[in-house]
């Protein structure tokens, strides 16, 4: 498409619908953890290519790749040393291009990371900066100070490892600013050349055909004294510049904000549909777990009530778990204490301000709970994001450092190394999980594919079902308010499609009377089995739900009396 005389770039395999991300199912994975094709113990792009059919069969439509760039790997790749290349352990740039092409051929979109708040301290920009004279353009790529007393109001994020956001560089003879690890110096967005270079990186990947970019740590781009250095106006200006470049030059691409903030503070990252297309809804995740543990819908309804409207073309990104800890930064102190007590009995399960566990272990491997939470994920307003392995109920390893316990090799089969690699087990980048409950011999793709009642097959069905109904990705949300607070009930509506979702957050049976005024005479049809329920009348609609049960009811008009053929 031409705009202002320029031809926008749209490679083969790009989605036709500019709002494709609203109906998407994201699947988050790390290349290193997925499949190893050359048996060096580390997953790679060729291995991933061999597993694309699995992702397609699952029903995912967009792969989110965690960082795969050259890096010292001191923060699992979020410490980037070269923005426009592939870490040699994972393959080459040509391998990535081939992967991208093959993914597009299968109708999959691909999202990669744009980690541009900071670089690795091994990045040539930082090496040049620390050696460049004060005031030089090279030096000015990062945030330097003679004192570590600037920006004192900015909180420390990695509380387990960092004591300050400043670190002394003996070469530069100055302090440099870092919101994360001390080996991750923050880029200086007050220097226009930084944004220019970031835009070059962005264009590099979009030109290759990447469909979406996740803007990592986006609230922290700009610092100002006297503020908490988060969500500043200048940060939004930088994002707008990125979005403008995308809109001017590319069709149907998407950027997603990682802003771990309350919903009201995330709202500006959508701008007037001129910043990010999507943003994660971070605070919802812990509150879903809290609601489940307390058997009370209030934590969910409360956070959703605080969630502002967003522009029509924008979308929330929803997830139950991801590659990081289950973050508790966006809950109150009491709520945090409760969550620690409820979900991390062993202190090793905690890290920073959160809980480093996978979905299934968090839920005590209770199939009903796992299905219930996924039903919420698939029916809440937003785009669901699955974390690799959670679709088979993979476990974690709390004895590994940092967040590596949730980044273990994908469990493909009961073969050696879980079918992930043929390497000597000692060579694997991480040990596979081997215990009796969570080990790869008990939980793996091959076994679950053969088992019609497996979690994997259940997930496939649920995803396929969700994809039949655009209301889930695009519809409005209205909570009902039944007196039984163990029941969460809400209506989704989009262009005449109406779906009533009812979930029992309790471990025992629950009755509920739903006030469905305004929906009289509609017929609820249970969506999974296509079973008609009694029509809605003037009285409250009674339902009874078993432990952790959920119902998706499509509200259909009563069947019209079909007439005979009409002759003109």
């Amino acid at each position: 498409m031409a705009t202002g005389g320029r031809i926008k770039k749209k490679p083969a395999g790009s989605p036709a619908d500019p709002l494709w991300y609203k109906d998407a199912i994201f699947y988050e994975l790390h290349v290193k953890a997925f499949a190893d094709s050359n048996n060096d113990g580390i997953g790679d792009f060729n291995g991933l290519m061999g597993k694309l059919d699995y992702i397609v069969d699952l029903g995912a439509t967009c792969i989110w790749l965690l960082p795969f760039f050259p890096s010292p790997l001191r923060d699992d790749g979020y410490d980037i040393a070269d923005y426009t290349n592939v870490h040699p352990s994972y393959g080459t740039l040509a391998d990535f291009q081939q992967f991208l092409n093959v993914a597009h051929e299968r109708g999959l979109q691909v999202m990669i990371e744009l980690v541009v708040n900071h670089t690795s301290d091994q990045h040539p920009w930082f090496q040049a900066a620390r050696n460049a004279p004060l005031g030089s353009p090279e030096r000015d790529f990062y945030v330097w100070s003679d004192t570590d007393q600037l920006y004192k109001d900015a909180r420390i994020i990695f509380t387990d490892t960092e004591v300050s956001n400043w670190s002394w560089d003996p070469v530069a003879q100055a302090y440099y600013w870092h919101r994360f690890f001390s080996h991750q110096p923050d880029l200086n967005y007050d220097n226009p050349r930084v944004l220019e270079e970031v835009l070059k990186v962005l264009r590099f990947w979009l030109d290759m055909g990447v469909d979406a970019l996740r803007l990592d740590a986006v609230p922290y781009l700009v610092e100002r004294d006297g503020t908490n250095c988060e969500n500043l106006g200048e940060t939004h200006e930088a994002i707008k510049a990125m979005r403008a470049a995308i809109d001017a030059e590319y069709d149907n691409r998407m950027i997603l904000a990682e802003a771990n903030q309350p919903p009201a503070n995330v709202r500006p990252y959508f701008g007037n549909a001129d910043e990010c297309h999507m943003a994660f809804h971070f605070p919802l995740m812990p509150r879903i777990y809290m609601a489940l543990s307390q058997e009370d819908r209030q934590p969910i309804t409360e956070i959703m009530a605080q969630t502002p409207e967003i522009p029509e073309s924008c979308q929330w990104g929803l997830f139950l778990r991801n590659h990081d800890e289950l973050t508790l930064e966006m809950v109150t102190g009491d709520e945090r204490d409760y969550m620690y007590l409820a979900y991390s009995a062993d202190p090793r399960m905690r890290i920073n301000v959160g809980i480093r566990r996978r979905l299934a272990p968090l839920l005590d491997n209770n199939r009903g709970r796992i299905e219930l939470l996924n039903s919420l994920l698939f029916s809440f307003p937003g785009t669901p994001i699955l974390y690799y392995g959670d679709e088979i109920g993979m476990g974690d390893n709390i004895y590994l450092g940092d967040r590596n316990g949730v980044r273990t090799p994908m469990q493909w089969s009961s073969d050696r190394n879980a079918g992930f690699s043929r390497a000597n087990p000692a060579k694997l980048y991480s040990p596979v999980i081997m215990d009796a409950i969570w080990g790869y011999e008990a939980i793996n793709v091959e076994a679950q594919e053969a088992d019609p009642s497996s979690l994997l097959n259940w997930m496939r069905n649920m995803i396929a079902l969700r994809k039949l109904f655009r209301v889930f990705g695009r519809g409005t949300l209205r909570f009902l308010d039944p007196s039984n607070r163990k029941i969460l009930a809400y209506l989704r509506e989009y262009e005449g499609e109406q779906v009533l979702c009812v979930a029992n957050l309790s471990r025992v049976w629950q009755p509920v009377q739903l006030d469905l005024a305004g929906l009289e005479s509609l017929v609820p049809v249970e969506m999974l089995g296509y079973v008609e329920f009694p029509a809605i009348g003037k009285e409250c609609y009674p339902l009874t739900l078993g432990p952790y049960d959920f119902l998706w009811l499509e509200l259909q008009a009563a069947r019209a009396n079909d007439g005979p053929e009409q002759e003109e």
Binding site: G107, A464, Y530, Q556, D562, E565
Partner: protein, 408 residues
């Protein structure tokens, strides 16, 4: 959209054809003498510009010359990439002429088979008038058939489409039909290739218009195309058509899942007198094929059909020829289960559809015996009953589509 190759001089003309009332798109290379002789008489009464487009490079008058506002234009027959299948080629040609009509911004496009059987004044009037007057977006023909004619359509294409898309159209995969401007736009948006694997797709005009809520009419026409697939093996024809039907169902699932019941199509013209010249059919070979299939294909059928259906088939296989009857509900569920297995790729699609043939022959044998002594009109009632059964059984399909279960 179908890639249509225009001859170079027509490419220029296609950009500036002026207002076009009607495009008659011939889906292939017709006999030129017949086309030239019949077209003017058939198009009398259509005042504004009409373009007759046909496949071939033997330009007759070339675009621009005209007789009574009728212009002739040729187009290069598009290749149905990777396929030489009969219906796929027809579908590619239909898409080509619709794309041409779209490019010319025609008010309507009448698509006709290259045998020119539909090129007669009555058929053209019946199919085009409702569209040009704006009362229908799409006009489909109701061909005059005997009780033993078009049985794949009667047993599979028509009732399956009706149940899924909610429009009671007798011939959803007709050689001839007429699309108005809005239907043209919709049809030209429908992708030539399936999203999943890039295979060529047939054109299903009724489904495309139904999904956009368009008005569909049908008219009884006297057109007889003759047997198009006589030289082809039944199994090949059935496989090709069933595959196309099931692929379309896969592509349109979000739409048809929410369609309940069916709407009658607006009917134009008067019903034809049914033909009554059908000779009795010997059902024994078909029943024997069914019984042979039940012995040799049991392993395949068990991958597709649930135990209750298998039990009924075993019972059928034990019946003698005279008492052989396949209930409509059983046949409808068999078709739905094959559609599900096709979607789930439970086995190779060609093997799967090959295994449908003996079952189809079983249905034909049952139908033939039921209507053997009946008039064509009575046989048509039987076909209508089958279509209603498909509708009644649709929840069976929807529930399994939404939540597939292992069948055995």
């Amino acid at each position: 959209m179908a890639k249509t190759e225009l001859l170079p001089e027509l490419q220029r003309s296609a950009r500036e054809p002026g207002p076009v009332e009607l495009v008659i798109g011939v889906t292939g290379s017709p006999e030129m003498d017949v086309l030239r002789a019949k077209a003017p008489a058939c198009l009398q009464g259509i005042g504004a510009k009409t373009i007759v487009a046909y496949a071939g490079d033997n330009r007759m008058n070339g675009y621009g010359s005209s007789e009574d506002n009728i212009h002739f234009a040729s187009y290069a027959m598009p290749h149905a990439a990777g396929s030489s299948a009969f219906w796929i080629e027809i579908g590619a040609a239909q898409r080509a002429v619709l794309a041409l009509a779209g490019a010319w911004q025609a008010r309507a496009c009448l698509v006709i088979h290259s045998d020119l059987a539909a090129l007669d004044p009555d058929t053209i009037r019946l199919l085009t008038e409702p569209v040009l007057s704006g009362s229908s977006d799409l006009m489909m023909p109701v061909y005059q058939t005997g009780k033993y004619d078009a049985l794949i359509n009667k047993s599979l294409l028509s009732p399956f489409s009706r149940a899924l898309y909610g429009r009671r159209v007798k011939f959803p995969l007709a050689f001839d039909f007429c699309a108005g401007a809005s239907a043209l736009a919709k049809l030209n948006q429908s992708d030539l290739k399936s999203a999943n694997n890039g295979e060529p797709q047939l054109l299903w005009p009724v489904n495309a218009v139904a999904t956009s809520g368009g008005q569909i009419g049908q008219a009884a026409v006297g057109t007889r195309h003759g047997a198009q697939t006589d030289s082809m093996d039944l199994s090949a024809v059935l496989t090709e058509l069933a595959a196309a039907l099931f692929k379309e169902a896969e592509a349109c699932a979000p739409f048809w899942q929410r369609v309940r019941g069916s709407q009658p199509a607006l009917r134009y013209g008067t019903s034809m007198v049914p033909t009554e010249d059908a000779q009795p059919i010997d059902c024994r070979p078909m029943v024997e094929s069914f019984v042979l299939g039940s012995r040799n294909l049991e392993e395949v059928w068990r991958l597709v059909l649930p135990p209750a259906t298998m039990l009924e088939l075993k019972r059928l296989a034990r019946l003698d020829v005279e008492s052989f009857r396949m209930p409509d509900a059983l046949w409808a569920r068999i078709v739905y289960d094959f559609a599900l297995a096709f979607r789930m790729r439970r086995l190779s699609r060609s093997h799967l559809l090959g295994a449908l043939t003996p079952l189809y022959l079983g249905w034909v044998a049952s139908y033939a015996q039921e209507v053997g002594g009946a008039t064509t009109q009575e046989a048509n009632h039987k076909v209508e009953e089958l279509a209603r059964t498909y509708e009644e059984q649709k929840p069976y399909l929807v529930s399994r589509w939404r939540w597939p279960l292992r069948v055995s």
